[in-house]
Each structure stands twice: as C-alpha cells, then as structure tokens.
Symmetry: C2
C-alpha cells in the first residue's frame, strides 16, 4: 500500500457501503463508517473489524466521519443522495467525494430511469460546487462480491470526474482493493455507469445470476 | 447456421455498417447493402463479396433493400438516423429493425450527450410505432474488429427491446457472427449502451487503445 488513508464511507451501514468499507479496511486503510445514527455506525464498524481481523474501522455521525477523513465515499440510496450531500457540503470542501450513487427508481429498478440532465452524480458536482472534487465510481460492482474478501472480483470500475488528479487517486485506490479502475471521462459520463446498473439487474433476472458485472476489453 | 436470412444493412457503405454486413455474409446470410446511392451500394457490395469470398452481398437503394429483407439493420450516423428511419417506415412494417445508432455529438464524441428523453434508439421505436419491432444492438463494437473476419471479437453485445421474440432473434444472430448477445431489458435501456460508447472512446484516447469494448461477467 502506498499510503494509509482515512476514508469515510457515508452509508457504510448499508450493503454497498459496507462492502466498500470492508475492502478499504482489508487493504490497510483506516475507515470511518458514517451514519445518521452514531450507535448504528459503531455497531457496523465493530462487525467490519471482526470480518477484516483488524482494528481499523470506527463509526461516527456523517458530519464527524467527513471531518476526520481525507477521502469520502457516498453510498446511500438515491432517494437520500442530494439531501445527504448538501448537509455535508462545508465539511467536504477541499476533499474528494467518491459518489457511488445509482439513480434507481423502485419498483422498476431494471429499467433505466436517468434523472433530468442525465447523471445523478454529475448533479451532485453542480450542487456542491468546485470546492468538492466529485468522482463517480463503483456503480456496477455488486455488494456481495465486495463483502466476500477472499474472492477476486471479476468486474472493472468506470471512474468519471472533471478533476484528473482526483480521478487518478480513485483509480489507484481501486487498484489497492484488487480491482481495475478506468478513467472514463468527465463527470457527465457517469450517466453510462449509472444506466448500466439497470441493464445488469435485467441480465441478473433473465440469466439467473446474482452479481453480473463488466470488464473493459482490448485496452 | 439455423436459417439463411436476408438482412438489409442501411448505411452498409459506412464503417460500422460495412463491418456488420461482412460478418453477416461470412456467417452465410444474404446481405443487401442499402444506400441513398444505388451505385455506391453496389460498389460496397462487390468489395464485401471479395472480402468474404462468396456472392451473397448485393447493393440497392435503401427502400429496395428494406423491401427485400426480413431483418433490417440501421447503421447510419446519428445526424441521419431519424430522417432515414422515417423515410422507410412503411417498408419496415412487420419487420425487425436492429438500430445500432450511437447519439454522438461531434466534436465532443468522448462526452456523453444523450438526447432529450434518454435514448436515441427508444425514440425511433416511438417514431415508427408498434408495427416495427425495434431492437438496439452493436453500439459498443468497433468496426475495425468487425471487418477483421479472422479475428475473435473480445466484446459482448447489449441487446435491448420491448419485443422478447425480436430480441431472441437478434441474440441468436449475434451468436452466429461469433459474439455473445445479452438481452438487457426494454428499449429504453438502450441509453446505457449508447452512453457507454463515449466512455469507450474516452478510454481509447487515454489508454492509447483503438477498439476497447466490454464483456459481461459473472453470468
């Protein structure tokens, strides 16, 4: 590992956030689970420490988690994304926000329903302004692959963002958790990764798989 | 091959259309290159017959090509897609139209710029009405892989459409030309495949590749 980071995972009590937190801790990083409920965050952190076999995960409120972190991952349901991001705007200034949001609209989650303007993550970059470097990633990785730490994940990560250095940082972090990240253009390009998730859900249902993913070929 | 089809490729004088036409002919199907200019279509057909080493490709006007075909592929630049499709509406009635359109907006082709409503191909299904079974496919396959007939293509095809039987037919056809097609949901899901092309162009530029593609994993 190049450098130990302190990574806040907002929504780390959920499945996708928990899976990412486990992978980051397993790779040697300090992880702070953020939740609206600090007790819930602490419980999730204790479970992750046990899973990873280390003492690198702690749990706090979202605001405290962001304040202590140098990189923040947002992994909350789409319905809570804007509100959560906006409530953390000041604390996020100067930091990288990795937004893993997929704009699924239940009950038809296998149907692409991108928001007005195209990308849910690009909308967060507009909302938070240039002080926060928003990077889109992890939309196409199933939590069940992430949480199974001994398992090599057969899926690449599309990384989109307007700040090249921030994208490079995230691509490197993805490498540390055993996956390949590809810098795939500006933040508006996140629309493709967001939309693709509904196609993977469609494929899971039709072909009876539980965690289909994508690989980039011929690079 | 299960059954010899007669496939019209509208825009078969272009790179993507020509590559698809070559693969279809190579797989044993009769192919009719459609163009606004019948002479240009005939020239392209002659070159493809030479390439394939058979006499299965002919060239005609778009209208004549569609009239003689049982399955039609639309592979024209985005700027000509709506006009071309609308001009063939009557002739397409009762047929499958495989639309390979990617809504690229030059000069920023590496930037996702989906049209109002999300998907350029879903818009054609609305335009043509239920008499035509529109199926989206081939957005993510580089023409240079298609035209190199001896070359196994390391790329899967996302197939989206509202008619299940039509999608099954197209998935089978994709198998005949040596690729894997995945039925990935309703026609609106085409937005993901359309957007993904700009990410692949982005990746080609950044990683100095010439024809990156995708594979679906863990199915």
């Amino acid at each position: 590992m190049a450098e130990q980071r302190t990574i806040a995972v907002i929504g780390g009590t959920g499945q996708e956030g928990g899976g990412l937190a486990a992978r980051f801790a397993h790779a040697g990083h300090r992880v702070i689970i953020g939740s609206r409920d600090a007790d819930k965050a602490a419980d999730a952190a204790a479970r992750l420490n046990e899973k990873v076999g280390a003492d690198r995960v702690s749990g706090h409120t979202n605001a405290d988690a962001v304040a202590a972190a140098d990189l923040v991952v947002l992994a909350v349901p789409y319905q809570g994304q804007k509100h959560t991001a906006l409530s953390l705007k000041e604390a996020l200034a100067g930091k990288i926000l990795v937004d893993a949001t997929v704009p699924l609209v239940p009950p038809k989650v296998a149907r692409v329903q991108l928001p007005e303007g195209g990308s849910a993550v690009a909308a967060i970059q507009v909302l938070l302004g240039p002080e926060v470097k928003v990077v889109s990633a992890f939309q196409n990785v199933s939590w069940n692959h992430l949480i199974d730490l001994d398992h090599a994940i057969d899926c690449d990560v599309l990384v989109c963002g307007d700040d090249n250095d921030a994208c490079d940082t995230v691509v490197a972090l993805i490498g540390e958790i055993g996956m390949r990240g590809f810098h795939a253009g500006p933040i508006v390009n996140s629309a493709a990764a967001e939309a693709l998730t509904s196609l993977l859900i469609s494929i899971n249902r039709r072909y009876k798989s539980s965690g289909s993913g994508i690989r980039i070929t011929a690079v």
